[in-house]
């Protein structure tokens, strides 16, 4: 199993390194996998390759034709004016035909080459999106959103472009050099070898550079993601930045990250340019050699000027692909590193998914049962987040959960819809282990109003209907009414179509929470968990919400996590959690009678004695 695609924060550097260490072998298998992916479009790949082959070969005939024309012009081949003219016309027409055909095949080559890349990219994008949506909370806890976005944009692009900028160029160059070598060497051995003398040098340079670029590419990716994390978090936490007048501090952070990235980017320019110009130079030097030795041969009468021109034009044809070699090398480096990272994510096994024989959850009675549940967050040290949690709740019942910060209340809530899987013990709904039912049916049956809710940048209406986008307006309004938000919404100029800012930035804290409640109500879950979801709502509004919800409460199990005791004192059962264990349980009255920690909370919150605080002061 390989869930460490990018690694947790402290390990992030390490796991990048492990990709870097991954030798040629790993890079090679990644490239092969990309090739296999492109082969899913066999016809288009075939058309592309055949067109490339034909276009390149046709292109190679052009120097021949030119050479011939020159010889004809010099009257070397056909003696006599009319015949020579005729021959020239002949060559010209053939050349024209070859040019047109070459153009058409090049068009096919480029178009289908790009098409294959884009289609592969399309498939990858969907696979990536689908995977991201299914990866567990634990995975998302570990991996920074910025890194995922980089992966989905930059890395994916690197893989997508590999076919057109990597594979095709290699094929093109291979054909040009291969067929060219045959044609040239068969024309003149020495000159042919000289024209190609730059090839070994270029091949060697490219592989060296490929390796260098590959490792700098990884480091650069890493530095860029540090930079984007700095920017992303700064913008997301802009209020904190402003509240602490920390702009300078943030700029420093930015500058540090920027400097790192910039230095490396400059270094990469040097490597890249050093490589390109050396390759270009070797190519021109080969051309010089051809000119020198070819000239000698012409002088010695061994070859015609036309033949020399043919060699030289051949080299001009090669000039463009050779110049692009740098890009090609880069493309290989990029595809192998990006591909390795991307495939690691795509291959990550899901920690939480349907069991092979999973069935849909059947809610008949609606009994929720925790049986000796224990849980530990991945990578957390010390005591487990939960241990030995057992309780039962029937429809119509309400369970209240209280406890100090970090005691494990939200964790309990997160286990019911299987956001995380229990480490020990079982959770059952109507006797069915939640790990044995399909995730979809489970999550439809369990609604969690999360403590730290996310709202989407879209209309209020779409946000409320997020879980049921087919819902009619009336239902949306009813949910908003139950959450005591309707009156506020209709007071807005655009009503339900008002767009709320990111994470609900244009709403007050309480409005945001009520919107989240309304959203969960739309699903009509059999188990509804309120995770501290009225903390920012005043007592009056909260009571109205609760009153509105009473109507439905009889059909479902309600769990209320709250620090406000008035919210849960009427629960059928109250659990006091501390350190991941239930330390007190019972009804409000029982717990008061017990005189324990619940009692202490009650005294602080509900007994109208002001002297306590003054005593403390």
């Amino acid at each position: 199993m390989n869930t460490q695609a990018i690694g947790s924060a402290p390990e992030r550097g390490k796991s990048f390194a492990h990709v870097a260490e991954a030798s040629w072998g790993k890079g090679l298998s990644t490239l092969l996998r990309i090739v296999r992916m492109t082969l899913r479009h066999p016809w288009q790949v075939a058309i592309t390759l055949v067109s490339t082959f034909i276009a390149a070969t046709l292109q190679l005939f052009i120097p021949r034709l030119l050479g011939r024309a020159i010889d004809q012009a010099q009257g070397v081949v056909a003696a006599g004016g009319a015949a020579a003219e005729h021959a020239l016309w002949n060559t010209a027409l053939i050349l024209l035909a070859v040019s047109v055909l070459r153009g058409l095949f090049t068009m096919a080559q480029n178009y289908y080459g790009e098409a294959v890349g884009h289609r592969t990219g399309y498939e990858l994008r969907l696979a990536f999106y689908e995977k991201i949506q299914r990866l567990s909370f634990a995975y998302h806890d570990r991996v920074h959103t910025g890194d995922l976005i980089t992966l989905g944009l930059l890395d994916l692009d690197g893989v997508r472009m590999f076919f057109a900028t990597g594979i095709l160029r290699v094929v093109l160059l291979g054909v040009l050099i291969g067929v060219g070598a045959y044609l040239l060497i068969s024309t003149d051995l020495v000159l042919g070898l000289l024209s190609l003398s730059f090839v070994p040098f270029v091949a060697w340079r490219s592989s060296v550079t490929q390796l260098k670029l590959r490792s700098t590419w990884l480091t650069l990716q890493e530095r860029l993601s540090v930079l984007s994390r700095v920017m992303d978090e700064n913008l997301g936490g802009i209020r904190v930045v402003r509240a602490f007048a920390a702009q300078d501090h943030e700029m420093e952070k930015f500058d540090r990250a920027k400097q790192d990235a910039l230095a490396l980017a400059n270094r990469r320019v040097e490597i890249r340019v050093g490589n390109t110009s050396a390759m270009n130079f070797s190519f021109l030097a080969a051309m010089g050699l051809v000119l020198w030795f070819g000239g000698q041969k012409v002088i010695a009468g061994q070859i015609s000027v036309g033949t020399l021109a043919q060699f030289l034009t051949f080299m001009t044809i090669l000039q463009m692909p050779v110049r692009q070699l740098g890009l090609m090398v880069n493309s290989f480096a990029r595809a192998s590193t990006c591909g390795t990272r991307l495939f690691e994510l795509l291959d990550t096994e899901l920690d939480i998914e349907d069991a092979p024989d999973a069935r849909d959850l059947v809610v008949t009675d609606g009994l929720l049962r925790f049986d000796n549940v224990g849980f530990r967050y991945e990578g957390a040290s010390g005591r487990p987040a939960l241990s030995g949690i057992s309780f039962e709740a029937r429809p119509g019942e309400t369970v209240g959960i209280v406890g100090p910060p970090g005691s494990g209340k939200s964790t309990i809530a997160h286990l019911i819809p299987r956001f995380y899987d229990v480490t020990s013990g079982t959770i059952t709904l109507d006797g069915q282990d939640i790990r044995g039912v399909t995730l979809q049916s489970l999550r439809k049956a369990v609604g969690v109003v999360q403590q730290d809710a996310f709202l989407f940048t879209t209309s209020i209406e779409n946000n409320i209907a997020y879980g049921n986008p087919w819902a009619r307006e009336t239902r949306i309004e009813r949910a908003a009414e139950s959450a005591q938000l309707h009156n506020y919404i209709i007071g807005l100029p655009a009503g339900y179509t008002t767009v709320v800012g990111e994470r609900g930035a244009s709403l007050s804290g309480g409005q945001r929470q009520r919107l989240t409640i309304a959203r969960s109500l739309m699903l009509r879950p059999s188990v509804l968990v309120f995770d501290d979801s009225t903390a920012a709502v005043d007592a009056g509004t909260e009571q109205r919400i609760r009153a509105a919800m009473k109507r439905f409460a009889k059909d479902r199990v309600t769990l209320i996590i709250s620090h406000r005791l008035s919210s849960l004192m009427h629960a059928d059962q109250i659990l006091f959690v501390d350190g991941g264990r239930i330390v007190e349980r019972g009804t409000h009255e029982e717990l008061l009678a017990l005189g324990g920690r619940y009692r202490a909370l009650y005294d602080l919150q509900l007994r109208p004695d002001e002297d306590r605080l003054e005593g403390a002061a």
């Binding site: 884009h118 978090e233 007048a245 920390a246 002088i299 020399l308 100090p404 879980g467 008035s566 009427h570």
Partner: protein
């Protein structure tokens, strides 16, 4: 399950009506002009610091182009003077080869210099651009930031800045291309005027074809660019909201919607590839025609000895190279167009007005100011004609602790935002330490007002770094003291690396209450004269809260406190309580006075205290009415 009403019958077979992914708005005007002098000037202002290097690289590119031009001439010279039948000359050959060697050395050096310099300048300019945007965003008003998604800004900071890279790198090259083009034309005409003219006569055809092609291709290119950023926006949203997506089982709906966008992007790409590629056979055909012309016309001229064969060879060389600059200039055109679109978006960011800024002569709020806060007839709102605070006046004396309470959405957080001058008031004034906040420098205000925001936001980094966020110089002891005061010390010590534990994004590996405690500690370490606590303990149980309050008594001696809380027990110790409703102050006084008044506060308080079964229907009705007003 309760019987479903008619309006709840939903047809789930069709397209969901209330669903979108990504929040692309049509604001992005993409069919921008290829050349907009304002944007060019703006970009130039970023390039200007590297002026001298740009000149070097332009010079290098010119040299490079000249060597490119010279190579066929050398070949021609070698052929015509060294190896033409009857004119065999070894010394010419040596001369030509030496010249060739010299030229390729110069070519090598020039291209190396040019590409290195341009590459580096481009990287630097991009980096500067990004920095300028980022630093500008540090100062733009929060009302802009409230409306704008982080993802959208990030795509400008990254995507748009990056798409300038190609433009910057290739624009120097295109200077070379233009020179090369004119160079080839002149050399051809110089070598043989008639043949040159004849060969070049194919050119106008190309321009005519382009005339038809360009407007259509432009649309296709831009559509590809646009659909791409739409799809990317949807992806970013999917990543950020993944927990909600999973908990509400929206995967399938979202997947289908995303598929639509990606598919649209695929099709747009394919269409633009068609447009880009259709030019290839046309250009090749024209090249063919030009070469055929040289062969037929030039060939017969050579036959009739009115043209040197070397010239014909040179012509053929030049024609092959002739279309390269045209091709790359066309590419450059679409690169430029994309760059203009990006430049436009970058400019938009740089042009967001800084509504809240230090006025000239703003004074710095000194440490020994008295710590008073006063609102004088403050009216403020976010949307026009919808004031959130209406004519609010109150004063918090130095050292006093004042609580703000009221129903949700009544404007409590908004008024605290004004103390810090996140926004400017519509009318009236907010005074801190006796100064209108608009007369103070924002930095000094930030130093003296520490806030615990309603939503705890933590940065990734260690716990230690987070707590001493404002005061990076704070020593460990100070941090520990603050953590102890808010009761966070114990759980921090329990983390794998204690204070040096790396927090995940937004503090995701902590519970919300723990995050709130850390953001509380962060405000304490800031050691400011005025402390604003906006629901600082909302997610914390009353017992922990009591411990915090005890610990704070000494720590906050002599400081002014502004506290917002819904749990009224939290604020019983306040010197004064201000009750806000609907943006207006409806009551104020201490707890006893307010209880006696039996107004909104008393009612809220009793509700907190009493069980709701005890509330009469009548009370409910009345509160409903209150709720409707809010």
């Amino acid at each position: 399950m309760p019987a479903q009403n008619d309006d709840e019958k939903e047809d789930k077979s069709g397209r969901p009506t209330k669903a979108v992914v990504g929040s692309h708005r049509d604001e992005e005007e993409v069919f921008g002009k290829a050349y907009d002098p304002r944007i060019i000037r703006r970009i130039w202002s970023f390039v200007k610091p590297y002026q001298s290097r740009i000149f070097i690289s332009v010079a290098a590119v010119l040299v490079f182009t000249l060597t490119q031009l010279a190579i066929p001439l050398v070949i021609r010279y070698a052929i015509d003077h060294g190896m033409a039948p009857g004119r065999l000359d070894r010394s010419v050959m040596i001369g030509a080869t030496v010249a060739f060697a010299g030229i390729i050395l110069i070519n090598y050096a020039a291209s190396h210099v040019q590409e290195t310099v341009v590459g580096k300048v481009a990287e630097n300019v991009l980096s500067d651009l990004r920095r300028a945007m980022f630093s500008h965003l540090q100062r733009v008003s929060l009302s802009f930031m409230d409306k704008t998604e982080v993802g959208r800004l990030m795509s400008r900071l990254q995507g748009d800045v990056n798409s300038m890279q190609e433009f910057l790198e290739t624009s120097v090259m295109s200077v070379g291309d233009i020179v090369l083009l004119f160079g080839i034309v002149s050399v051809l005409l110089w070598l043989d005027f008639r043949l040159g003219l004849l060969t070049l006569s194919t050119m106008p055809m190309l321009f005519i074809v382009r005339l038809f092609w360009l407007p259509r291709a432009k649309v296709a290119f831009m559509a590809a660019h646009e659909t791409n950023s739409i799809a990317n926006g949807a992806l970013a949203e999917g990543i950020h909201g993944v927990r909600t997506v999973q908990s509400l089982e929206r995967q399938h709906v979202n997947f289908d919607l995303y598929d639509e966008k990606v598919l649209a992007n695929l099709n747009a790409h394919l269409r633009s590839a068609k447009y880009a590629q259709v030019m290839v056979p046309i250009v090749d055909t024209l090249t063919g025609i030009a070469m055929a012309t040289v062969i037929v016309v030039g060939g017969s001229m050579v036959l009739s000895h009115s043209l040197d064969v070397g010239v014909m060879v040179a012509f053929l060389f030049y024609i092959q190279r002739f279309f390269d600059p045209i091709r790359s200039l066309t590419m450059q055109y679409s690169v430029m167009q994309r760059a203009m679109a990006s430049g436009q978006r970058i400019s938009e960011v740089l042009d967001v007005p800084v509504e809240v800024s230090d006025r000239p002569g703003a004074v710095s709020l000194s440490r020994d100011m008295d710590g008073s806060v006063e609102f004088r007839n403050v009216t403020f709102g976010y949307r026009q004609n919808l004031p959130v605070l209406k004519d609010i006046s109150f004063r918090v004396n130095p050292g006093e602790t004042v609580a703000l309470v009221g129903p949700t959405g009544s404007g409590k957080s908004s008024s605290m935002a004004l103390v810090h001058r996140f926004y400017d008031v519509w009318s009236g004034e907010v005074l801190v330490g006796g100064h209108d906040v608009r007369d103070l420098t924002q930095d000094s205000l930030g130093d003296q007002v520490a806030m615990v925001l309603q939503e705890p936001f933590l940065f990734s980094g260690t716990v230690l770094e987070n707590i001493r966020y404002h005061k990076t110089s704070a020593i460990r002891e100070e941090v520990v003291r603050a953590a102890k005061a808010v009761g966070a010390h114990d759980f921090i010590e329990d983390l794998p690396d204690g204070y040096d534990t790396e927090l995940e994004q937004r503090g995701g590996n902590l519970s919300l209450g723990q995050r709130q405690l850390i953001s509380f500690a962060r405000a304490l370490v800031a050691d400011a004269k005025i402390l604003v606590l906006d629901e600082a303990t909302a997610s914390i149980d009353s017992y922990t809260e009591m411990l915090i309050q005890k610990a704070l008594v000494t720590l906050l001696e002599g400081r002014t406190g502004l506290v917002i809380a819904h749990r009224l027990a939290t604020i019983r110790g306040a010197d004064r309580i201000i009750v806000l409703q609907n943006g207006e102050i409806v009551e104020s006084g201490n707890h006893e006075q307010l209880m006696e008044r039996k107004g909104l506060y008393a009612r809220l308080y009793n509700m907190n205290y009493a069980s709701f079964d005890d509330i009469s229907e009548e009370d409910m009705e009345r509160d409903m009415a209150v709720g409707k007003a809010t």
